[in-house]
């Protein structure tokens, strides 16, 4: 029975393809594919239907199917294109078989349905798996990438280290910040650590809590933590929330924080050209004196 139906479908593949293409194009006007160019849409459809027929014929997953799904994933075609396409294929094929055979009876109906389901379902499963697998892969890669840049530590000068924070801080990241901060302080032998929160959009009690804990831990290992990059609106929300940040120094900008870090380590920035002029002036003065 299955064999017979399959032969029928494959022999009349041209008609079914025509019906399928009509069906697919019908729903095209106002959906996600409307931005795709006509030619690309048609050639993809042709390829898609060929792939479907190839898998129906061979009764199983072909390399052509794998290649096709991989390419669609890479091009960013929506998953619903594939599922819609296969659903219409199922609909069209069943309609076609039933209209050709002129047989009636529930048993025959269910046999046809089952046969077609057996062809289409493995393809749907395969494509959906491929698709979601590829997305999961991308998400996990991005997660790793995010983690890599979530808590960087820059030793800008001897004894002075900066940790610029950008973006939202969640629990996982807060843990990383603490670990990296303490590791880095020991490794770079930092006396002063500047935590820069210029790029943190919202400082709520959780973020503040984590920063306070990190600063406290840094203090315990004998270094000083300066919180820099507090924007005016963030300062106001911190005051409104009633968060006490008085235990460690804070500065509005990284530049000011860096200056006080230099002061704490008994250094200062000297403008070399100016001091040069002074030298010459002094020299002239001393010459005048003679």
């Amino acid at each position: 029975m299955d064999r017979k139906l399959k032969d029928l479908v494959i022999e009349n593949s041209d008609t079914i393809v025509q019906m399928w293409l009509e069906e697919i194009s019908k729903g095209r006007q106002n959906d996600y594919t409307s931005t795709i160019s006509e030619e690309l849409f048609e050639s993809t459809n042709r390829e898609f239907v060929n792939v479907i027929f190839a898998s129906v014929e061979k009764q199983g997953i072909t390399t052509a199917l794998e290649d096709f799904s991989e390419r669609l994933v890479n091009l960013g075609w929506p998953l619903s294109y594939l599922t819609d396409g296969l659903q219409s294929f199922r609909r069209v094929t069943i309609n076609y078989i039933l209209s050709e055979q002129n047989q009636v009876g529930t048993e025959y109906f269910s046999e046809v349905l089952q046969a077609v389901d057996n062809w289409v379902d493995p393809i749907i499963n395969k494509l959906v798996n491929e698709y979601s697998g590829s997305w999961e892969h991308i998400v996990s890669l991005q997660r790793v990438a995010l983690q890599e840049l979530s808590a960087p530590l820059i030793p800008v000068m001897e004894n002075i280290t900066v940790m610029p924070l950008i973006g939202t801080i969640d629990t996982e990241r807060a843990k990383l910040i603490m670990e990296n901060l303490l590791d880095g302080v020991i490794k770079h032998n930092a006396e002063v650590v500047l935590i820069d929160i210029t790029g943190v959009p919202v400082v709520d009690t959780m973020v503040a809590h984590h920063i306070i804990q990190a600063a406290e831990a840094v203090r315990l290992i004998g270094s000083t933590c300066i919180l820099v990059g507090i924007r005016p609106e963030i300062a106001q929300t911190i005051v409104n929330l009633g968060i006490d940040l008085s235990k460690f120094p804070t500065k509005s900008s990284l530049r000011k924080g860096f200056q006080s870090a230099l002061e704490l380590t008994n250094r200062k920035i000297v403008n070399t050209s100016e001091s040069h002029e002074n030298d010459i002036e002094q020299l002239v003065d001393s010459l005048d004196g003679e």
Binding site: D170, V202, D204, T205, N240
Partner: protein, 133 residues
């Protein structure tokens, strides 16, 4: 302009989503940057409370307009365990999770109006309003 939108809070990253939408709302209504930051922080606190204590819930935003003023309403709703002693929760420095204990009293100070209804074993509903100055 009386439209409404809701964000479901199921995982930690939903807090960021809620914040983003709330900030967009605030910008559209015409809040300044300081008030936008206040609103975003308040949403963050409310969403985090849902995530930490109730597990799941939702945050809804609504714009209200009266004759002489307009503002943003934030509704935080959950079906969590509820709050046993509301007066204690509204005290500064009270926390059951080792946090700073500034969340709810902080939200009250960040917003203009603050209303909390909580029934044990049934859930909590918080309504906070900020008016455009």
């Amino acid at each position: 302009m009386d439209f409404q939108s809701c964000v479901n809070i199921n995982k930690e990253w939903d807090i960021v989503g809620a914040r983003q939408i709330g900030r967009d709302f605030a910008r559209k209504i015409g809040f300044g940057t300081v008030d936008q930051a206040r609103i975003a922080t308040a949403i963050s606190e409310l969403a985090r409370n849902i995530y930490l204590y109730a597990g799941t819930g939702k945050i809804c935003f609504e714009t209200i307009e009266e004759i002489d003023r307009k503002g943003l309403v934030i509704l935080a709703m959950d079906d969590g365990p509820g709050i046993a002693e509301i007066s204690k929760v509204m005290e500064d420095g009270y926390s059951t999770s080792g946090g700073l204990g500034a969340g709810l009293p902080g939200v009250k100070r960040l917003m203009d109006e603050f209303d909390i209804i909580s029934e044990q074993e049934k859930g909590t509903k918080i309504k906070a309003v900020k008016w455009v100055r």
